[in-house]
């Protein structure tokens, strides 16, 4: 999940791997400061967010989070392993799935990176708004409005599908 959070923040696999590794490295170094196991997950996500923010600051000239495409199929990697189709899968269903994913990626690429991160933490990780506020160090109201804004933007950009 750290990797997926990093991926949605930075928008490309290569940087996401760097961020995830950096986050784990910092986590190991900071283990002594961790007192409660129950907050370990939140703590690791917060580290990931901070690693990404630091990279953005230090490489601001690149503006990579605005210019890099989220269409990772272009960078040569395989399709996700969990998306399988039987040989006899209906062609129209397969096309529909591809179109749906492509539309999502296109819409996501136009969102603010932090809004994408909010969606990952909520939709994929199932974190509560309070937990997301702690991870992202944003006020609760900001988390609520951010998730709402991101979802509404996706809904409008994907109006042909929803």
């Amino acid at each position: 999940m750290v990797y997926n959070l990093a991926l949605r923040l930075c928008g490309n696999r290569s940087d996401a791997q760097d961020i995830a590794q950096d986050a784990f490295l910092k986590a190991v170094r900071g283990l002594g400061n961790l007192r409660e196991q129950s907050v370990a997950g939140t703590w690791l996500y917060r580290i990931t967010m901070n690693v990404w923010k630091n990279r953005v600051r230090s490489e601001k000239r690149r503006s990579f989070w605005k210019t890099f495409s989220l269409d990772w199929r272009k960078d040569g990697d395989d399709e996700p392993a969990l998306q399988l189709r039987a040989p006899d899968a209906p062609a129209d269903a397969a096309i529909e799935q591809r179109d749906e994913k492509a539309a999502l990626e296109k819409a996501l690429s136009q969102l603010d990176p932090e809004d994408r991160a909010l969606l990952v933490l909520r939709e994929i990780e199932g974190r509560s708004y309070q937990e997301i506020a702690e991870i992202t160090e944003r006020p609760l109201g900001s988390v609520k409005s951010g998730i709402s804004r991101a979802r509404e933007a996706l809904r409008q950009k994907m109006s042909g599908l929803v």
Binding site: Y3, F24, G41, K144, R155
Partner: protein, 375 residues
């Protein structure tokens, strides 16, 4: 509640993050505002699409670089080596912090047409979890058996808590591993198509006597058949559960009929691997979703493999198994339908802990999503 305020709150409503008072106001507005109801449905669909497509498998190079012992020799980045050289204790904590509670899955396999020999080959050749190392074929040595998989699930005591949490986790695709017993006592809701809410506890209390119309989430279960549905009463949209006819045939005990060839093949594969030590922990048939066979086997000293297959005709449509050091067993808990897809809830007992995994199946069982765990 006015129109704009309702719109601003729809996303939080969808997530169940509104206080009861505000939630009631939104529900009241929705009952009389088709436009807002439409937006809510759209947000629900967006949420579903995101869950379905946004998750990316972790690259093997990253996993090897961070966790793999072999990865220490070919770490993704050389500077990571000092991390891998940390003490075993620190490494253990790192794994606790990050890695999901399940072992790394073998690549999902889908085959058309299979024989016992193929089954045996697949079992022996499938990649295994990095966390448990080797020795996880069906050729096993120890005679110890994993505990019966049903035990933990059936002794949770209160159906509503476990079931509702599991379904909620499955639908939302979320991991609720941090759930405490205190939290479990709360009322959970599941988001159904269009963002409507299914209150599991109300459903338990009012589980019969309702006639329903309209589309909703239908659930079938070997133990607790129910249908969760939306309907309208006095002009208000209502979501309730009702009992349903049993749509699901448990063939575990019989081991015969249409499933017999598969069960025989599975047992034969176990015998060919060294001993007939594969436990068929469940065999089920559904007209719509095919046949499901769950199995567990001791695959090495202290190491257990458990998984399931979905079959259609004579083809294995889907096979997924994992290996874990210590007791490990899986059992089908439920299949239910939601938004045109089938959800498979799998009840997992591992090293004395109990949780659920879910699989989302597209119509025809031709595509499968990832899983999440619900404590």
């Amino acid at each position: 509640m006015d129109h704009k305020t309702c719109r601003d709150n729809l996303s939080a409503f969808l997530d169940g993050e509104l206080p009861p008072g505000e939630r009631a106001l939104v529900e009241a507005h929705l009952a009389g505002c088709p436009e807002c109801a439409g937006v809510l449905a759209g947000l629900g669909k967006v949420s579903g699409i995101f869950k379905k497509h946004a998750m990316e498998p972790v690259p093997p190079s990253l996993k090897e670089g961070v966790f793999g012992s072999r990865g220490a020799e070919k770490a993704y980045n050389p500077w990571l080596k000092p991390v891998l050289a940390l003490s075993a204790a620190a490494a253990g904590v790192l794994i606790f912090l990050n890695v999901p509670k399940s072992p790394q899955r073998a690549p999902l396999q889908m085959k058309n047409g299979y024989s016992p020999a193929e089954l045996s080959m697949n079992a022996a050749s499938a990649p295994r979890a990095e966390a448990v190392g080797s020795g996880s074929s069906f050729g096993m040595e120890s005679a110890d058996k994993a505990p019966a998989p049903r035990t933990a699930a059936r002794t949770l005591g209160y159906f509503g808590q476990a079931k509702a949490a599991a379904i909620r986790g499955a639908i939302s695709g979320s991991s609720i591993s941090a759930m405490t017993s205190a939290k479990a006592a709360k009322s959970y809701s599941a988001q159904a198509a269009g963002g409507s809410s299914l209150d599991m506890f109300a459903a338990k209390a009012e589980k019969s006597g309702y006639s329903s119309t309209g589309a909703g989430m239908k659930g079938i279960s070997p133990e607790t058949d129910y249908v969760a549905s939306n309907y309208t009463r006095d002009g208000q949209a209502v979501n309730r559960f009702a009992n349903s006819p049993k749509l699901y045939r448990d063939k575990t005990a019989a081991g015969s009929g249409t499933l017999k060839p598969y069960l025989d093949a599975l047992r034969a594969a176990g015998a060919a691997g060294g001993a007939a030590k594969i436990d068929i922990t469940g065999a089920f048939e559904s007209d719509k979703y095919g046949a499901f066979v769950f199995y567990s086997a001791q695959t090495g000293p202290g190491s257990n493999t458990s998984g399931f297959m979905i079959m259609a005709g004579k083809s294995i449509k889907f096979k997924d198994e994992q290996t874990w050091p210590g007791p490990y067993a899986k059992q089908l808990w439920d299949i239910f339908e939601h938004d045109g897809e089938a959800w498979l809830l799998v009840d997992v007992t591992r090293n004395g802990t109990h949780f659920f995994e879910h699989y989302r199946l597209s119509p025809g069982n031709t595509e499968f999503s990832g899983t999440s765990e619900t404590q």
